[in-house]
């Protein structure tokens, strides 16, 4: 009698154990990972490289003291001199975001945003659709004091049991008026695969 009761109790406990509310649906082999983890899946340019480059470049630029009083900076695309499809715009976007967050600089519309910016200004001023008071006036866009440009290059060597990739990322800040480079830094990354 006792045994039967305890068995029933156990069964109830088991069932209720299964129905514990959990925020996870399905997913035996699938899980979310740490987006900041060191990625070593292949030795091509990866997420960690992008994060490392953006981080070390921003810190170095912000701390250098060149950017007094949140100057306006125009960011150019990073030139890709490798033969790997690296989305260099993602590197510049990360750099921009981090500089913006640290409050070190402000950014002028870059090449890609410029068209949308001009279109919007034209629309506001020429369509006659908007309330006069709210229309953004033309001729008030702020020009950049500095421009930021850079490049990434790579050297790849492989033998039957080694593959070595060397990346060099360099970035410079140039004063638009004087044309002088005010700050420069580079980051080197070496990745080796052994078979």
């Amino acid at each position: 009698m006792f045994a039967r009761l305890s068995l029933a109790a156990l069964a109830i406990a088991l069932v209720s154990g299964c129905s514990t509310p959990s925020p996870v649906l399905g997913g035996k082999n699938i899980s979310y990972g740490d987006s900041k983890a060191v990625e070593l899946v292949t030795n091509e340019f990866g997420s960690t490289d992008l994060q490392m480059i953006a981080e070390s470049m921003t810190r170095s630029l912000a701390q250098s003291g060149v950017l007094h009083g949140r100057p306006v900076v125009q960011v150019y695309d990073v030139k890709n001199k490798t033969s790997e499809y690296i989305d260099t715009r993602e590197i510049t976007t990360s750099i921009k975001t981090q500089l913006m967050k640290s409050g070190a600089a402000r950014f002028a519309s870059d090449n890609t945003d410029m068209q949308s910016q001009v279109d919007q200004l034209k629309l506001q001023n020429q369509s006659g659709l908007y309330k006069k008071k709210t229309v953004a006036k033309t001729g008030n866009m702020i020009a950049a004091k500095y421009r930021l440009e850079g490049s990434i290059s790579s050297i790849v060597k492989r033998s039957s049991d080694y593959k070595d990739v060397f990346y060099k990322f360099s970035l410079q800040l140039i004063d638009v008026e004087s044309g002088l480079a005010e700050w420069m830094d580079e980051k080197e990354i070496r990745k080796t695969t052994e078979r």
Partner: protein
Amino acid sequence: MVSRALTLATLVAAVQLTGCSVFRSYDSELQETNKQLAAGNVDAALALLESNNKGDKKDLLYYFEKGELLRSKGDLKGSQDAWRSADSVVFQWEESVKLDTDKYLSQFGSYLVNDKVRRYEGYDYEKVMLTTQMALNLLAQNDFDGARTEIKKTHEREAIIAELRDKEYLKREEEAEKEGIKTEYKDLQGYPVASLDAPEVVGLKNSYQSAFSHYLSGYVYEALGEKGLAAPGYRKAAELRPNTPLLDQALLELDKNSAKAGESDVLIVVQTGLAPARDSIRIPLPLPIQDNLVITPLSFPIIREDTSTAHLSEIQLNDKVLALTALNSTTAMSRRALRDDMPGIILRTSVRAISRGVAQKNLNQTNPMAGLVVGIASTVLEGADTRTWRTLPNETQVARVRLKQGEHHVSLPSSLGGTQVTVKVDRPYQVVSLRVVGNRVFAGGPSVEVAPQAAATAVASLK
């Protein structure tokens, strides 16, 4: 008793296999289809394809061919749908390879079954060309963002293939050593070795990387203003086809800002001919069966080039001659794929023949009747795998020009029918793609119009 069981098993196996693709001659099926296409009867070609694939479960090849036929017909949406299905098959393959490379490689090296009873997975170059053709479909509709997705998929897939093949070739060398088979394709008496050793075949870096595919990706990224991604596209293309002025020029022009108002950067893509066929050839090879060298006829695949379409080196643009630059040859890629696969094919075919020889000898000693059955079943089963994507264009050639926006006229040389095509240029970047089979020109999309061509000639043997 044992031998009787074996006989039964063999019979059952033989009967079951007849149901699948063993007896299907892909080559002759597609010869008919392509004949219709070259004559301009795209609908008849499509009907033929459908009648040859009546089953519910369509394979990768069906979607490959269907997409290309619909594209020729000008039904870009239908074509894209068919290729989307093919793409999902390739995607599954890709996932299985990524998750467990070793398992994939070991099943690939299985000696027991003939290559042609395996599920068709597509050759590497076909996988790369699939997404490239899909990008062309989208570009014909001026959808550059959509094309960017396909192009990104193309080079990500290429990277997976590269890694897989690296591992596979290493493993195969080890296995050939273990089995003690040293035959190379150069040792095959009567095999057309020269076709595999031609300079355009040996000159390729591998069978799957296409200069055209990378050039197109450079162009699409440039059109979208992403120079950081356009540069590696052009650079990779130039690495794959060194000393091509068009490719070097693209890289130089990338940093210049030479666009003039009212002018368009137009890429003309001319794809001609059809992919080569795979055929089977029988070559006797001495094999060690129970310590005796036995001369055994074995089947090996050979590549047969398509002759439907004459080679084209220039077109007329507004009555001026425009030279084309060849960036892709499916025949060369297909030969290269076979050249790279040949050691594996020789290894598998020989090992299979040896084990069969041993079994048959043992059976003959105990039960001659059963031995006969095994013999028959194995002749049925032998024969090289002749499946391959046949409607895929053979040659891809391009020309890049700056044109004033408005209407322009492109025409083909009179040797190929001299068909006129009217092109409406209205975008800063625009891709015009023409497909030539026989002396027919096919093109789709809102900005291209092909002048009426001679009525499609009826081809006999239409069911």
